[in-house]
């Protein structure tokens, strides 16, 4: 046997040994499939009792918030409180969502949608996989807990990417990043402390503010619309893979004006298009709230607004593509 061949064989042996070693390592802790982890996370968020503090970061700002969640026979009870800045709160159960804004002296009550109807991954796996790739990147430690790191990467520029840190023990979300096309985070959430508890005392779910003397805004009613043709409005452009998943007509107490709410989703990201008749000054242009972008325009006496956890260009194109079929 001449020398070069011996060297090749030696190299091959080393490679095989390394491969065998890595198999042994993986056998010790097999990382679950990304989609399975996401399903578990979604169930854990709904079914467990927990109380945690997290940091919320977007553009140049950073805030701390506390999230309390209770699940019992009646369903879910949740409370989200800001710990920095104005003490705003959101109280949510299976009937309603109440947002309290002491700085505006306003309370907003909207109808909630029970979480059980929310589709789980893999809904149609192939459908989502056509627009995103999933992988378990590795492991990390957040809030003193071991976590799996899951990447969800979009295959085009119309959607955002996600990086999720999922608790190994309880499957709760410990950290998440919403990423733009260059991979830079547009929004980050990270728990610094998270406790899973046997039970949550009701005191923790009560708002600290009564909202007395505040202006209350109520959603009066909402009726499901049968199909996309309702109202005669059509969204003529949306990214590949997006489809109408819901259409609702809501009305408001004082004005009684109906608001058409069309929901589009690619199975992961979603965009809502709101259309309402306007009696005053229209709202026009882009808006951003953390990872959510909105774009508003005025068409034929109607306010058209697209809202979604997608890049600004996507909501803008969708809003601009809305036409009245009448």
């Amino acid at each position: 046997m001449n020398r070069p061949r011996a060297r090749i064989l030696a190299r091959l042996f080393v490679t095989m040994a390394a491969a065998a070693a890595s198999l042994v390592v993986e056998a010790q802790e097999v990382s679950p499939q990304a989609q399975e982890l996401i399903n578990r996370m979604s169930r854990a968020a709904r079914d467990l009792n927990y109380d945690g503090v997290f940091i919320y970061r977007r553009s140049r700002e950073m805030d701390t918030m506390r999230l309390i969640h209770k699940a019992d026979a009646e369903g879910e009870h949740e409370r989200l409180v800001t710990l920095t800045g104005m003490p705003r709160e959101v109280i949510r159960d299976d009937q309603s969502v109440t947002c309290i804004f002491p700085d505006d002296q306003a309370v907003m009550v909207e109808k909630s949608r029970p979480r059980k109807f929310v589709a789980q991954l893999p809904e149609p796996v192939e459908r989502i996989a056509a627009y995103y790739s999933f992988n378990v990147e590795g492991q990390d430690r957040i809030a003193g807990r071991d976590a799996w790191v899951v990447n969800i990467t979009p295959r085009d520029l119309y959607r955002y990417g996600y990086q999720l840190w999922i608790d190994k023990e309880h499957s709760l979300l410990l950290k998440s990043e919403l990423k733009n096309k260059s991979g830079a985070p547009v929004e980050q959430i990270m728990f610094t402390q998270l406790e899973v508890r046997e039970s949550i005392p009701d005191d923790l779910l009560r708002p600290t503010m009564t909202g007395q003397g505040y202006t209350w805004y109520h959603q009066a009613s909402a009726e499901e619309r049968a199909d996309s043709g309702a109202g005669g409005w059509q969204v003529t452009w949306m990214p590949n893979g997006f489809a109408l998943s819901n259409h609702e007509k809501q009305s408001l107490v004082a004005s009684g004006d109906p608001v058409d709410h069309l929901v589009f989703t690619d199975g992961l990201a979603s965009v809502s298009v709101f259309i309402e008749k306007l009696h005053d000054v229209p709202q026009i242009g882009p808006a951003q709230m953390g990872g959510v972008n909105a774009f508003a325009r005025f068409a034929d006496g109607f306010q058209v607004t697209a809202v979604g956890e997608v890049p600004q260009s996507t909501v803008q194109r969708m809003a601009n593509s809305v036409v009245s079929g009448r």
């Binding site: 919320y56 907003m108 004082a254 229209p282």
Partner: protein, 191 residues
């Protein structure tokens, strides 16, 4: 470098400096000739006292100085503390040449760095630059408000209502639950 300065430096070496010694220290801090004289006088002093080591390494101070300059990022204290630490040290009549050069070494390291951007110790991933800020014009929140509200408050009321409804209908298994509501309770951009 006048003879007068050389005398002051000499006095400093002999620990006999008077008020003029302060001037000598200043000369040491900025004048290469003064620093060489300082080193020479120490060698002479050691020789006269018979405490001269078997081997003299005239380049030692320079090498230590260079090494310190290379490590300046680690050794140099934070910007705010730097001057406070350096001033009392410079004010003392430190009789060891190495110590004097060491201080100079740190200082020249800083000066060299000042023009550049400061190397960060912990590099944080910068968030993407904010998109255009909220430019929604005024609107009414649906229900007539009981009191006059600001334009900002009224327009965000409508957007908030949209956001709540968007959250409730999002078909997003990835980041679900209450967490999306952070966007409603988080203070608005004030940019």
């Amino acid at each position: 470098m006048t003879d007068k300065w050389l005398e002051s430096v000499s006095a400093l070496v002999d620990d006999e400096a008077d008020a003029a010694g302060v001037g000598a220290i200043e000369a040491l801090l900025r004048d290469e000739a003064a620093r060489r004289a300082w080193a020479r006088y120490h060698v002479i002093s050691d020789c006269l006292r018979g405490t001269l080591p078997r081997h003299i390494d005239p380049g030692l101070a320079r090498r230590i100085s260079d090494a310190l300059r290379r490590e300046a990022t680690i050794l140099a204290p934070a910007q705010g503390h730097r001057s406070r630490i350096l001033k009392p040290l410079a004010g003392l009549a430190v009789a060891a040449s190495v110590a004097a050069v060491a201080i100079l070494g740190i200082r020249s390291g800083e000066e060299a760095r000042d023009g550049q951007s400061q190397p960060a110790i912990a590099v944080q991933t910068p968030l993407a630059p904010p998109a255009r800020t909220i430019t929604f014009a005024s609107g009414h929140p649906g229900a007539q408000p009981a009191r006059a509200q600001t334009t900002q408050g009224r327009s965000s009321a409508r957007l908030n209502r949209y956001l709540v409804n968007y959250n409730e209908y999002r078909n997003n298994a990835a980041v679900q639950g209450m967490i999306p509501y952070v966007r409603i309770v988080a203070p608005e951009n004030n940019e």
